[in-house]
């Protein structure tokens, strides 16, 4: 058993937790962040990739709109490398009420969201695949964001200020004594070791799991209502700007160009368990239909991968009116002192990735209040090296890098132009990493072949360079393929079928991966959210039998 002692323990390594631990550390507290999986593997790794301009909320939720606009500007500056300032359009599609655009423009002016109507011709020239039947187009400052880069940026900044980040550490218990938090127990999943962290304050940033975590401290149940949304990544950028439908926020009304793909989303279905998110066939069809409205011919383009995330919405009638000081619409800070008679713990829920810095500011302000201390928030002022200051991300970056090292570097993941050096550097930095850990950093296996060619190359290199032994190689490869397949089953149609058939011949046929010796028991499936569809379950049963 390992023991640690810090001022503040932050639970949950999504965008919220990462923003919070950075803020806490910058205000001079000693702190540890505990995350049961890799950073950004909860909702933060399963979101839509949109850095909101605020446009989406100018009519429905003016306060959120203003917050988004302000945070968008801040993040684009302090985390430039994680954000592409693509710009965006709100377009009235055939059948949409063109008058909504007037409400939109009025709302934008009132909330301080930069917006400008452009001619339909200009919009179509800039985005030639857009539905030629659009009747109006409004330009906004939407951007796109890599959730993982954003979280690592914040985590690195926190480390710089002395914070410790413990990934693959699951919180199992929170000790209290005399109505106050005293320690947090967790299990180091990679080493199978117990860790106890003595502390006077816990900030619960568990997202959709926040209710489970609050319960570990004996708090009254926090009613988290996970709202499941599905998204589908299409093979390439059908648009180079974010394209939103200019309507009251609804399902499937946004197409977001993130890195090399464009993502259509999303839905919102109330579910009970954030660990089991299905991708229902009718929702997939709904998304494809929605895409077709924005981009005629959308259904003919190639879908690569589908996934689902759960919105961490907190519906809590125990929250006293007095607490709303620390609440802005869409985000809620729960003070367990009054609610549960428990000192030293705050829970945060709701919000958006775009406003993660502001959420952190709110909850850390609340903590300082409770501790009776005045420590100012400085997170908006400081860049986050190394990817922070400087130029914003653009999609051409990797192509440019490969152009420069083309005579010396092998390309291992051809779809995402990942070089051998990128892989071996990442392997050296985290010898215990799974291939999914590498994927989140390098985009290994995230392109059209979905790991078909690169995963075996990566496995071979990891083995050849002595980072793993043969048993672990087998286990890691199988786990990686399994996880890729989860997102393939729901969208097996069109061009992606040909790819998966080829990949399957390679792995099941040539490599006979299913009959390799049993996996190394040290490679446990991560607490990866299962995204199993009924079809997938049947097919997997078929494979096993």
């Amino acid at each position: 058993m390992r023991k640690l002692a810090v001022d503040v323990v932050v639970i949950g390594g999504g965008s919220t937790g990462a923003g919070v631990v950075r803020d806490v550390a910058m205000r001079g507290y000693s702190t540890v962040l505990v995350e049961r999986a890799d950073l950004g593997q909860g909702t933060t790794g399963r979101f839509h990739g949109l850095l909101h301009s605020g446009g989406r909320y100018v009519v429905s939720d003016p306060l959120s709109a203003t917050e988004c606009a302000q945070e968008n500007a801040i993040l684009s500056r302090i985390q430039a490398g994680a954000i592409e300032t693509t710009g965006g359009y709100f377009v009235c599609c055939p059948g949409d009420d063109p008058a909504f655009a007037d409400k939109f423009l009025a709302g934008a002016a009132a909330t301080g969201v930069p917006a400008r109507e452009v001619s339909v011709g200009e919009a179509l020239r800039n985005e030639p695949r857009l539905n030629p039947g659009i009747t109006r187009a409004i330009e906004v400052q939407d951007g796109t964001v890599d959730g993982w880069q954003l979280v690592w940026g914040a985590a690195n900044s926190a480390r710089h200020y002395g914070a410790e980040i413990l990934t693959y550490h699951a919180v199992t218990k929170i000790d209290t004594a005399d109505g106050a938090v005293t320690a947090v127990h967790c299990t180091d999943l990679k080493r199978g070791e117990d860790v106890v962290i003595e502390t006077g304050f816990v900030l619960n940033c568990g997202g959709p799991w926040a209710g489970q975590i609050a319960a570990m401290a004996g708090a009254h149940p926090v009613d988290v209502v996970p709202g499941r949304g599905i998204m589908i990544a299409m093979n390439h950028r059908l648009v180079n700007r974010v394209v939103n439908r200019c309507i009251y926020p609804a399902d499937g009304d946004i197409l977001v160009p993130v890195h090399t793909v464009s993502i259509i989303g999303t839905t919102d279905v109330k579910v009970d368990d954030p660990d089991h998110l299905a991708i229902e066939p009718d929702e997939v069809q709904q998304m494809l239909d929605a895409g077709e409205v924005l981009i005629p011919g959308f259904r003919n383009s190639r879908a690569l991968h589908a996934w689902a995330g759960a919105r961490p919405l907190i519906k809590d009638n125990r929250v006293a009116a007095a607490d709303t000081r620390h609440m802005s619409r869409g985000m809620a800070v729960i003070d367990h002192t009054e609610r549960d008679g428990l000192d030293g713990m705050l829970t945060i829920g709701g919000g958006k990735l775009t406003t993660y810095r502001l959420m952190a500011e709110h909850i850390v302000d609340a903590m300082c209040d409770k501790l009776g201390e005045k420590r100012a928030c400085r997170t908006a002022e400081e860049d986050m090296p190394p990817s922070g200051a400087g130029k914003n991300y653009v999609v051409t970056h990797r192509l440019e890098e490969r152009e420069h090292d083309r005579f010396t570097e092998q390309i291992i993941c051809e779809c995402e132009l990942m070089s051998r050096k990128m892989l071996t550097d990442a392997l050296a930095a985290q010898p215990n990493g799974s291939f999914d850990d590498l994927r989140r950093q390098l985009r290994l296996g995230m392109g059209p072949c979905q790991g078909g060619f690169c995963s075996m190359r990566a496995t071979g290199i990891a083995l050849e360079t002595g980072h793993i032994d043969i048993e672990r190689a087998t286990a890691l490869l199988r786990l990686f393929l399994k996880n890729r397949w989860l997102g393939l089953w729901p969208i097996l149609y069109g061009d992606q079928v040909r790819q998966t058939a080829l990949d399957n011949w390679i792995f099941a046929g040539t490599l006979d991966v299913e009959h390799l010796p049993p996996p190394d028991p040290s490679v446990r499936p991560e607490p990866e959210i299962e995204k199993k569809t009924p079809v997938a379950a049947v097919m997997e049963a078929g494979v096993r039998s």
């Binding site: 339909v120 011709g121 695949r129 950028r237 180079n240 383009s301 999609v395 051409t396 059209p448």
Partner: protein, 420 residues
């Protein structure tokens, strides 16, 4: 609010905006990374400077958004082999050509502008043919040219002629035979008009011998050289002007050409690479036939006289990339096999290396030579005196590099019909 009038139109300007969009870009969805294109690419086989068709095509395209960052794509010769061999239907070569157009939009070397001015070159060289022939064969002058405009000193140059095809056609005695089979339009192309005048003459004489009336409207350039050098605006203007020229002879007439590459431009490249969507192009593109394709069609219909004189010899034949890309097989091989005692050996080589103007360029000359070397060896070994090939620049390349006189297959047909 709808502003219909400022919708994008398919004009010359839109040619470049088209780059990276619609047809070809959509086809990248079909790539399964099988790598067949890479195994067949004649350029990647001989140089590491080129990153290969799959890399610069369906892969790199996903990373492109306007700005051009991968200048090495210029090592693609645009031979089109990748598109031809792709079993999934990815328009690899088209994607590459479009990306090149975006790249060149900003910084086009003066050389690439000059070598793509095929009509201009012909016009300038014809009146001073002996001088031009001398200058282009003159080492010190070519060395200067290499330094000034980066055209390699040993690269093949078009043979300057004393008379253009048009002036021959206008001044020759009227054919004695009365046409019995109807009317055809002949498209000679720049090379066929100024440099390969003999090929054009022989084509017309064969067609007239078969009983056709042949019309030759005044005609400009198809813009292929501009297109392959990434000058889409100019190329689009040229090809549409040419369509007007060719249509001026009459509706529904079949158009015949012995310029295999220009035919490819009209049949599919202008549309697929530059996105030219124009009824005039569609009309001309569906009416045009390669000369040997036309003869084979006649033969298949039982309408080609086969009273050929025997030609007891063995000749190598090379099917050019741009002919293969038309999806018509190798019609010359089949037609030539009708000539008694003539043995035609298919080179079965992918490419001669020249790829239009690619092999002329100083930095690409060696690559083009390396690409063509197996072909040059095959040609020399098969017949040191004569080789056959359908397109002009390929003939110049083969002739220059192998030392074997290389002519269009129509020369054999012409001779076998006893036309002189």
């Amino acid at each position: 609010m709808t502003e219909v009038n400022d919708r994008p139109a398919t004009t010359a300007k839109a040619g470049l905006e088209f780059a990276g969009h619609e047809l070809s870009r959509a086809s990248l969805d079909s790539c399964v990374k099988c790598t067949i294109c890479e195994t067949q690419c004649p350029v990647s086989a001989v140089t590491p400077l080129f990153t290969g068709p799959k890399f610069i095509g369906p892969q790199a395209e996903r990373f492109r958004n306007g700005e051009s960052v991968d200048h090495s794509l210029d090592y693609c010769s645009s031979c089109g082999t990748c598109t031809l061999v792709c079993p999934q239907g990815v328009q690899v070569a088209e994607l590459n050509s479009q990306a090149r157009a975006v790249m060149k939009a900003d910084h086009m070397p003066i050389r690439d502008r000059l070598v793509s001015q095929t009509t201009l070159m012909g016009k300038l060289m014809t009146p001073v043919a002996p001088l031009a022939r001398w200058a282009l064969g003159n080492k010190p002058i070519r060395t200067l040219m290499e330094a000034a405009v980066k055209v390699h000193r040993d690269a093949p140059m078009p043979p300057a002629q004393s008379q253009t095809f048009q002036s021959w056609f206008a001044s020759r005695p009227r054919p004695a035979t009365v046409p019995t089979r109807g009317t055809l339009v002949f498209f000679h192309g720049c090379a066929g008009g100024y440099f390969e005048v003999e090929t054009s003459k022989k084509t017309v004489e064969v067609l007239e011998h078969l009983g056709y009336e042949v019309l030759v409207p005044r005609q400009g350039c198809c813009g292929l050289a501009q297109q392959s050098n990434g000058l889409f605006d100019e190329a689009t203007a040229s090809v549409l002007k040419l369509c007007d020229d060719l249509r001026s002879s009459g509706k529904d007439l079949t158009i015949i050409s012995s310029s295999g590459s220009c035919t490819g431009m009209l049949k599919h490249e202008a549309h697929e690479i530059m996105g030219v969507s124009d009824d005039r192009l569609a009309d001309v593109g569906t009416r045009i036939r390669d000369t040997m394709e036309f003869l084979l069609d006649l033969h298949d219909a039982g309408e080609l006289p086969t009273d050929f004189a025997p030609m007891p010899m063995t000749v190598p034949y090379h099917a050019p990339c741009q002919l293969k890309s038309q999806g018509i097989g190798k019609p010359a091989l089949e037609v030539l096999r009708l000539i008694p005692e003539l043995t035609v050996v298919d080179s079965e080589k992918v490419c001669c290396g020249i790829a239009g103007t690619y092999g002329l360029k100083k930095e690409k000359y060696e690559i083009a030579q390396a690409v063509g070397r197996p072909l040059f060896e095959m040609v020399k070994a098969t017949n040191p005196d004569l080789a056959l090939c359908d397109t002009e620049t390929c003939r110049w390349q083969i002739e220059q590099s192998s030392g074997v006189k290389t002519v269009h297959p129509i020369w054999m047909i012409h001779a076998a019909y006893g036309l002189g």
